[in-house]
C-alpha cells in the first residue's frame, strides 16, 4: 500500500461536505503525501449541515456554521473548486470530468456527495414553493418565502421535519407538520417521549396533522396547499419535503460503480471501482445508508487510515443515537427504543417537570435508551449502548439515583465523568476521548469549553457533549474552574485573554498570524475588532521578527498608509530629520514639494520636525518620491523623534555632542515597532533644553558620561522620567538603550506608554534585565538587532511598488453615465 517513491499521490474528493472534509482532516493528521483537490457543488466552504436549523431559526449566521473557511483549504494546500459539479468518473483512465468540461487525474478518489431530500412521488411536487431542507440554499429559500407568504406545511415528522417546522414558526409562519404515522420521530422515540415532544412543540406554536397521507401538492405552478388521502386539504404556500433522504448516487451510477440504495462500499469504504472510495450519506455499508453524523465520522476515520497506509480495524457499522436540535426541547434516543417482550424496562417519568428517562435491557445488557427533558446522560448512554455494556448497581445508581440522595445534578455528573475511563469517547461526532480532554486541560492549561473545542474538536459538531466537557472542566480544575473562567479583563470585547496570555500562547504554540491567534484562542468575533487586530499584529511581529509577515490590513489607517489622517480625511507628511538637523538643500526640496502639491500648511512639530499638512491620499506616494526622504514615522507606534539640543559643538555650556548622539540613536532605532509611540531626547548638559525629563528615553550628558532617564511622558498624564543609570562611554549608552527598548517591546502591553509600563513592571525589574544581568542584556541586544535588520523605508516601498500604490492609495473614479 505504501508508495515508496517520491511521487506525490493525487487525491480528489467529490463533495465538500462534513463527511468528506472530515475524512481529509483525518488524512492530513496522518500523512502529507497527497496533493488534494476538492470539488463541491455549493458555493460555500465546508459548513456544519447539522446546524442549518439554527440558521433557519435565526440564532446563527451562515458564517458561524462554517467549519473550514477558505483559509483552511489554502493553509493545507488544498485546491478548492466550489460551485463545480463533477459529472463523470472514468475509473479506467482514473479521471474525473466536470460540467464545465474540465478534467483531472487522480490516484485515489473519494465520493462524498451526501444525500438529497426524498421528494414524495405525488402530482405537483415539482412546483415553485416546494423545497427540501438540506443546504444553505434551502434555508435561504425558506427565509425568503417567509417574507412573502403566511402558511407552511412540512411533510415529515422526523428529526429534520421538526427542526424545519420550528425554524419556520420562528420566522413567523403558520406551520403544520404533516406526518404519515401516529407518533413523531417514530424511528427514534417511544409513545411516551413522542407524546411529550408533541405537546411541547404544540406549545411552541407548531401544528400537527397526524396519520395524514399526502396525495397531491395543489397549485398551478406555484404551491397553494396539500391534498390528503381522505380528501381533505391544507392551505400552504410553502411545502417543505422532510420525509427522508436519498443518497446522491447518480454520479457513481453514471460511472459504472455499483449502487444499491447508496454507493456500495466494503469495510474499508472501497467501492466496486479500484481506488474509488465513498463515505457519508451517499454510501451503503452492509445494506445500511446512514443519515446521521456520527457514522460519517467513523467511516471517515477508517478510510483516512486506510488511505494513509496506517493500520485500522475494518468499519463494522455504527450504532446510532439521535438528538433533536430545537431550543428548549431536549430529546435523545439510541439503540432500541420500543419495549418488546424480553426487554427489562427501567423507566422514570415526571410530567410535572417534563422529564422522561427510559433504559432498555436484554438480560443485563443495555440495548437502548430514550431521554426527554434532561439529556445530561446522553453521551454516557450512547457509549454504553454502543459497547453493549452490562447494567450494574453502580451504573443504575448513577443513572437513576439511589432514591436517597438530593437532586444534586452537578455532583452526580461529576461522579459520572470521574468514573469514565480515559479512552472513553466524550464527543462521538469527532472521536474525542476523556483522556484527550483531560490532557489539554492539564497539560495545555485550557480552561473553557471553547478552547477545548478549538483544540480537540469536542462539541464542534452537534454540541451534545458540551455538558460532559463542562463537567470534565469542573472535575479537573476543581474549585479553580469558576474562578478561572470568571470573566476577566481581555484586551478587547472579542476575548477574555489578557496580553500576557496572548504573548505566551503565540510563543508556545508558535502561532504565526492574527487569524490563527484568534482561532486558537477562541475569539468570540472570528475576525476580531479594531482593538485586538493591531495588538495581535504587533505581538506577532515582536515575537517572530523574521518570520511574521506584517498584516497591513490589521493596522490602523495611519500605520497602514504611513501618514497621519486628519479630521477632513487628508493626511500629514513628516519626513525624517535625524536629530532635528536639516540642510538648505533639504529645506528647498520640502518647500518645492509643498508648493507643487498645494500643501495646506507647513508646520514645525513638537518633536523638531517639519510637517506638511492637508495632503490628499492619492498624492502621498508621489510626494514621497519627490521628497526623497525617509519616513519620519510621525504617525506610528514606533520611535518618533530624537529631540536634541545644540550640545558641545556650538553651545558654550555643552559637555557632550548631543546632536551626534541623537542622530546615531535615531538612525539605529528608527522603524522599530513598539507597543506605543516612543519619544527620545539627547541633551548636552543638565540644563536639559531638549527636555529629557518628559521622554520615554531621555539622555543627559555630563562631564565624563551620560545619565539615562526612562518612563517620562509629556502627554495626558505628565510623568517625570526616572533615572535608570549613568554610563561612561557612548558604546555603553547604545547598549543600555537597545536593551531597554527591547525589554519594553517584549513586556509592554500594546498601546501602553513607557510611563504606565514602568509603573506596572517596576524599575527594579527593568534594571535587573537591562543592567544587572549581563547575559539577559546580551540576549535582549541580540533580539533587538534581529528586529532592526527587518526595517525598510515604507515610503520608498509605497512609491516603488505598483500594486501597493494601487491597492492602498488610489481611489476609483467612475462615471455613472
Amino acid at each position: 500500500m505504501a508508495d515508496l517513491s517520491n511521487h506525490r499521490r493525487k487525491l480528489i474528493l467529490i463533495g465538500n461536505g462534513m463527511a468528506g472534509i472530515n475524512t481529509l482532516e483525518q488524512i492530513l493528521k496522518l500523512t502529507n503525501s497527497f496533493d488534494i483537490a476538492v470539488y463541491g457543488e455549493e458555493p460555500y466552504p465546508n459548513y456544519n449541515r447539522i446546524q442549518l436549523s439554527y440558521v433557519l431559526e435565526g440564532s446563527k449566521r451562515i458564517d458561524e456554521i462554517i467549519l473550514n473557511d477558505r483559509n483552511w483549504y489554502e493553509d493545507n494546500g488544498i485546491e478548492l473548486h466550489t460551485g463545480t459539479k463533477v459529472v463523470r468518473i472514468d475509473p479506467d483512465a482514473k479521471k474525473i470530468f466536470t460540467s464545465e468540461g474540465d478534467c483531472a487525474d487522480y490516484d485515489a478518489l473519494i465520493i462524498a456527495t451526501g444525500s438529497k431530500p426524498f421528494v414524495l412521488p405525488v402530482p405537483g411536487a415539482t412546483q415553485q414553493g416546494v423545497v427540501g431542507f438540506r443546504d444553505i440554499a434551502d434555508c435561504h429559500a425558506m427565509i425568503e418565502a417567509s417574507k412573502r407568504v403566511k402558511r407552511a406545511a412540512v411533510i415529515g415528522g422526523g428529526l429534520l421535519g421538526l427542526e424545519a417546522a420550528k425554524g419556520l414558526v420562528q420566522l413567523g409562519m403558520e406551520t403544520t407538520v404533516v406526518h404519515l404515522m401516529d407518533k413523531l420521530m417514530e424511528r427514534q422515540l417511544d409513545q411516551a417521549a413522542a407524546g411529550m415532544l408533541k405537546a411541547e412543540l404544540e406549545r411552541q406554536g407548531i401544528r400537527f396533522l397526524m396519520k395524514a397521507k399526502t396525495t397531491e401538492v395543489l397549485g398551478d405552478g406555484e404551491a397553494t396547499g396539500l391534498r390528503f388521502e381522505d380528501g381533505t386539504e391544507l392551505e400552504a404556500q410553502l411545502v417543505v419535503m422532510a420525509a427522508g433522504i436519498v443518497p446522491n448516487v447518480e454520479l457513481a451510477r453514471a460511472s459504472g460503480i455499483e449502487v444499491g440504495r447508496g454507493i456500495v462500499v466494503d469495510d474499508f469504504m472501497r467501492t466496486s471501482a479500484p481506488d474509488v472510495y465513498a463515505v457519508g450519506e451517499c454510501c451503503e455499508h452492509r445494506g445500511i445508508a446512514y443519515g446521521l453524523v456520527a457514522p460519517l465520522f467513523e467511516q471517515g476515520a477508517v478510510l483516512a487510515k486506510h488511505l494513509a497506509g496506517a493500520e485500522t480495524a475494518p468499519y463494522a457499522g455504527s450504532s446510532v443515537s439521535t438528538k433533536l436540535k430545537i431550543s428548549g426541547v431536549d430529546v435523545f434516543s439510541a439503540g432500541e427504543y420500543e419495549e418488546e417482550p424480553g426487554h427489562r424496562v427501567l423507566r422514570r417519568q415526571d410530567d410535572w417537570l417534563g422529564l422522561y428517562k427510559k433504559v432498555l435491557l436484554r438480560g443485563n445488557q443495555i440495548v437502548g435508551a430514550v431521554l426527554y427533558g434532561d439529556v445530561t446522560d446522553a453521551p454516557q448512554l450512547a457509549k454504553l449502548i454502543r459497547e453493549g455494556a452490562e447494567m450494574t448497581d453502580e451504573l443504575y445508581g448513577r443513572l437513576f439515583g439511589s432514591g436517597q440522595e438530593c437532586a444534586g445534578g452537578a455532583s452526580k455528573g461529576a461522579a459520572a465523568v470521574l468514573s469514565m475511563k480515559d479512552d472513553e469517547i466524550v464527543c462521538g461526532c469527532n472521536g474525542v476521548t476523556k483522556g484527550d480532554i483531560v490532557r489539554v486541560i492539564q497539560v495545555d492549561g485550557l480552561t473553557t469549553v471553547d478552547e477545548i473545542k478549538v483544540r480537540t474538536g469536542a462539541t464542534r459538531s452537534c454540541g451534545g457533549c458540551k455538558p460532559l466537557v463542562e463537567q470534565l472542566l469542573q472535575v479537573v480544575l476543581g474549585d479553580g474552574y469558576r474562578e478561572r473562567t470568571a470573566p476577566k479583563k481581555g484586551i478587547c470585547g472579542c476575548t477574555t485573554h489578557d496580553s500576557e496570555e496572548i504573548v505566551a500562547a503565540i510563543r508556545e504554540k508558535r502561532l504565526t498570524s492574527v487569524r490563527e491567534v484568534m482561532a486558537v484562542m477562541g475569539w468570540s468575533e472570528p475576525e476580531g475588532c479594531s482593538k485586538c487586530r493591531p495588538a495581535l499584529n504587533y505581538y506577532l511581529g515582536m515575537i517572530w521578527p523574521t518570520e511574521h509577515e506584517d498584516e497591513r490590513d490589521s493596522r490602523f489607517v495611519n500605520e497602514r498608509l504611513h501618514a497621519n489622517i486628519q479630521k477632513d480625511g487628508t493626511f500629514s507628511v513628516i519626513p525624517r530629520m535625524y536629530g532635528g538637523v536639516t540642510s538648505p538643500e533639504q529645506l528647498r526640496r520640502i518647500a518645492e514639494v509643498a508648493e507643487k502639491y498645494n500643501v495646506k500648511m507647513v508646520k514645525v512639530t513638537g518633536g523638531q520636525r517639519i510637517d506638511l499638512l492637508g495632503v490628499e491620499k492619492k498624492d502621498l506616494p508621489a510626494i514621497w518620491e519627490d521628497l526623497d526622504l525617509p519616513s519620519g514615522y510621525g504617525y506610528a507606534k514606533a520611535l518618533r523623534t530624537v529631540k536634541t539640543c545644540v550640545g558641545a559643538r556650538f553651545c558654550r555650556f555643552g559637555t557632550q555632542d548631543s546632536i551626534a548622539m541623537g542622530i546615531r540613536l535615531e538612525k539605529k532605532f528608527e522603524r522599530l515597532w513598539m507597543p506605543a509611540k516612543f519619544k527620545m531626547a539627547v541633551n548636552g548638559c543638565p540644563r536639559n533644553c531638549a527636555e529629557s525629563g518628559t521622554k520615554d528615553l531621555g539622555i543627559v550628558g555630563n562631564d565624563g558620561g551620560w545619565e539615562i532617564f526612562v518612563g517620562g511622558n509629556g502627554g495626558i498624564k505628565t510623568t517625570v522620567a526616572a533615572s535608570l543609570c549613568k554610563v561612561k562611554t557612548d558604546e555603553e549608552l547604545m547598549d543600555v538603550c537597545g536593551a531597554f527598548i527591547q525589554y519594553y517591546r517584549e513586556t509592554g502591553h500594546y498601546a501602553e506608554r513607557t510611563s504606565e509600563w514602568l509603573e506596572r513592571v517596576g524599575i527594579d525589574n527593568v534594571r535587573d534585565a537591562v543592567l544587572h544581568k549581563p547575559e539577559v542584556r546580551k540576549l535582549l541586544l541580540d533580539r533587538v538587532e534581529l528586529a532592526l535588520a527587518e526595517g525598510k523605508d515604507p515610503w520608498r516601498e509605497a512609491f516603488s511598488d505598483e500594486s501597493l500604490r494601487r491597492d492602498y492609495y488610489q481611489s476609483v473614479e467612475a462615471d455613472a453615465r
Binding site: C529, R533, V812
Partner: protein
C-alpha cells in the same frame, strides 16, 4: 511577501466568491427598487477590490466607500461617518462584516450601515452586484439623495 501576495491572488481567482455578498446586494436592490429606480453603474473589476480593505469610489458626484470582506462579499456605503464632525470611512479597519471608523473608532455594520452601540446613527448603503468580473453599484437614477 511577493510570493504570498501571488498565492492570495491565485486563490482569489481559483475560488469563486461566495454568493452571500451578491445576494445581500440584490435583496437591498429589490427593497430600494420598490421606492425608486436604480441605475447599476460599473465601478471596475473585482480584482480592483482587495479583500479586507476599503476603497474610495467617486462616481458622478457620489463619494462612496466600497469594502470587500475576507469572505469575498462587497459592500458600498456612503464615504462619510455619521458623526457630526464627519470624516471618511474608506480607511477603516474591516473585521468580519463591520468597519471601524478610522477617526473615532465607531463600529458600523456593512450590511445595513447601522452604527453599533454605544454610538448611534446610520450610514447610507448601496446595493452591489457582480456580473462576470465587473462590480456594479446601484445608484438612484434621479437626483434623490
Amino acid at each position: 511577501m511577493a510570493g504570498s501576495v501571488q498565492r492570495r491572488e491565485l486563490a482569489a481567482r481559483l475560488l469563486p466568491i461566495g454568493r452571500s455578498g451578491c445576494e445581500i446586494g440584490e435583496k437591498e436592490a429589490n427593497r430600494v427598487i420598490n421606492r425608486e429606480q436604480l441605475n447599476f453603474a460599473p465601478i471596475g473589476g473585482l480584482s480592483e477590490f482587495p479583500r479586507g480593505l476599503g476603497r474610495q469610489v467617486r462616481i458622478s458626484d457620489w463619494d462612496l466607500a466600497v469594502f470587500r470582506t475576507t469572505d469575498g462579499a462587497l459592500y458600498a456605503l456612503e464615504n462619510r461617518t455619521p458623526h457630526p464632525k464627519g470624516g471618511p470611512l474608506a480607511e477603516g479597519i474591516v473585521s468580519g462584516h463591520y468597519v471601524y471608523c478610522p477617526l473615532r473608532d465607531w463600529k458600523i455594520d456593512l450590511e445595513d450601515g447601522e452604527v453599533q452601540e454605544p454610538d448611534t446613527g446610520r450610514v447610507r448603503t448601496f446595493p452591489v452586484r457582480i456580473e462576470d468580473e465587473a462590480v456594479l453599484i446601484g445608484l438612484p437614477s434621479n437626483s434623490d439623495r
